[in-house]
């Protein structure tokens, strides 16, 4: 993503900026279908299994999940602040906002890890120690979805944290100047990871809470 040297396929910088933006949105569309396939499978099982599947969701930790959602939504706001302060020509402000974004991302991963640890202690981890006689086969399928979805999401988040940290270093050391697209593109990716969680949250944590 070099902002200054124009590839032979481009005639203007504006064309390059528009092109890479379009490319990132096309990539995000593929990610919508990637996570979406998992969500579609989940929804079908929710219809198919009904009450037992929904009840399994009440075994998740809604307080930690809600806290995590707040963390990630705030990190998106920080990322957006990084983009506009960098646009405005500042160097210190975007680095600080990017650091905040990355730290909040790490906080998310930490809280998630805590949840997983608690679930391990409660014998809710399929293939490791799932207590089938106690919870039942349908609950096990729910938790397979839970670990696949949150695991893949965490992986994407870790990639995002790496990208944000790298960006903060580039801006902080003066290697990246405003006027290009890099910051915005990484911002798009970060916001997308947030959106995935926005949909995973109600599906995982909010089902079966009033049964």
């Amino acid at each position: 993503m070099s902002d200054r040297v124009l590839g032979i396929q481009y005639s203007t910088l504006a064309q390059e900026r528009e092109t890479v933006t379009l490319g990132m949105w096309a990539f995000l569309a593929t990610e919508v279908l990637f996570f979406g396939a998992l969500i579609a499978a989940y929804l079908n099982y929710r219809i198919w299994f009904g009450a037992e599947f929904i009840a399994a969701a009440s075994l998740t930790k809604v307080a930690l999940g809600t806290a995590n959602t707040a963390v990630l939504l705030t990190s998106s706001a920080c990322m957006a602040m990084a983009v506009i302060t960098f646009d405005a020509g500042s160097k210190r402000a975007p680095v600080l906002w990017l650091a905040a974004t990355a730290l909040l991302g790490l906080a998310f991963v930490g809280i998630k890890g805590t949840e997983w640890f608690l679930e391990y202690q409660e014998h809710l981890v399929p293939a490791l120690n799932f207590d089938l006689p106690r919870y039942g086969g349908i609950a096990e399928i729910f938790f397979i979805f839970y670990f696949c979805a949150t695991g893949l999401h965490a992986l994407h988040l870790l990639i995002g944290i790496s990208l944000v940290s790298w960006l903060a270093w580039r801006i902080g050391t003066g290697r990246l100047q405003p006027g290009g697209s890099t910051t915005r593109l990484i911002g798009l990716y970060w916001h997308f990871v947030d959106i995935v969680w926005i949909f995973l949250f109600p599906l995982i944590y909010l089902a079966g809470r009033n049964m």
Binding site: G7, I8, T19, A26, T30, A37, A127, G137, E140, I141
Partner: protein
Amino acid sequence: MHAPRNETYLNATVGIRSWLLTTDHKRIALLYFAGITFFFFIGGIAATLIRFELLTPGPTLGSADLYNRLFTMHGIIMVWFFLIPSIPTTMGNFILPMMIGARDLAFPRLNLTSWYLYMAGGLITLTALLLGGVDTGWTFYTPYSTFYATGYLILAVFGIFVSGFSSILTGLNFIVTVHKLRAPGMTWYKLPVFVWSTYATSVILVLATPVLAMTLLMLLAERVLHVGIFSPQLGGDPILFQHMFWFYSHPAVYIMILPSMGVISEIVPVFSRKPLFGYYFVVWCSIAIAVIGFLVWGHHMFVAGQALYASLAFSFLSYLVAVPSAIKVFNWTATMHEGWIRFDAPMLYAFGFIGLFTIGGLTGLFLAALPIDVHVTDTYFVVAHFHYIMVGGAVMGYFAGLHYWWPKITGRLYPDYWARFAAILAFFGFNLTFFPQFILGYLGMPRRYQTYPPEFQIWHVLSSAGASILAVGYALPLFYFAWSILRGPRASANPWGATGLEWSTRSPPPPENFATTPTVIRPPYQYVRGEPLMQAGDV
């Protein structure tokens, strides 16, 4: 700043690193050609062994288990490592930027990454298949594949997973390129149909392949962790796997056919010396096929246990998807009407495509009817149907494009009479191979079976005989293409007298395609009294 008179993309830089680290879309296309050809022949060897095995009603070559591994290998290699990449990564990569007047794709380094992902995935899967393979069929149905199958399933599936990213990135590259890098004056409705077809294909690549990625991940999770996502003994639903698998794999067949249709749409006007009939219909039908193709996947699951209501919906939608394909066939035929037809090799392959694709497509309609499908599903009728489309259609289209753009890509001409002979041989060999299979299927011969009742043998022998002729038809181009590179006469910029920006630059093209970015003033396929009005550009 343009290249000296004798500099081409082939000789501009030398050395293995200049090829393996290239970002030139034309060189990457050749890298793909090498891989595609390699995998085509591996898949072909598997097919040869299959047809040899089926010569006798009992075991011929080996056990039923070996046979299962052979047809699985054939399916996996041909679908994911030959058909899906074939035209987009070779001709799409090479010709598409030139057709729109661009110097390269939008993301050249991503393009090279796509090739490496393709080769890595292909070699991983090939290793799995050679180590002992898999016996599940290319469809990996659960719970057999996840709980009972022996073999190197995890490795094979992982290779497919990796190559899926190659597909996604290539599709993404093409979509963005067509939107943003068209030359001045090149509006959407001046684009050649090959560009529209490749664009439609790329939309499918981008939207369908991620679903396959997730499906394969869940498959691997079930196999590795022994958890019951799709397995009824643990409460899961095997049909869910089929839904997810076919949500990708049905659009995948349109990935395989749309580019071939694009090639045919290029060739028929040139060799009829007439503009393409119904350009707007043809381009919007390409888009329609891509979109409606996402709505029909359940027709692979009519007898799997899917709800009847869903089967009805999918059956109706499957009838709908045939309409745009048929419209295209009518348009190609109308293009030829009152044209000046030339029977060069590309046109012979195009004729073959139109006839064989029509038969394959019609038999698809038979299969879309629920009561007929109940009778012939999982029989050789289905095998014949999809081979008519995939081989009679897609592969013929691939060879048509190969023969059409060969002079542009290599700067050499091939011996025309050998090429025509190969095309005709392939056509006859193909029909002898696959028409008996319609009859076999109707009579009740199941697919994926090594042994069969003796009364079916005559049809299998005919089919295997046809396969040997088809093999010669496919092998011949290896020889005359090799000869053309070594000894063939040099090609001019436009040996076929065609319209299109790719023909306005020399053969082989210079590294940056055009000395100056062309300005487009005319729609495509402008033939008047059999002669083309050339587009603006340099020669």
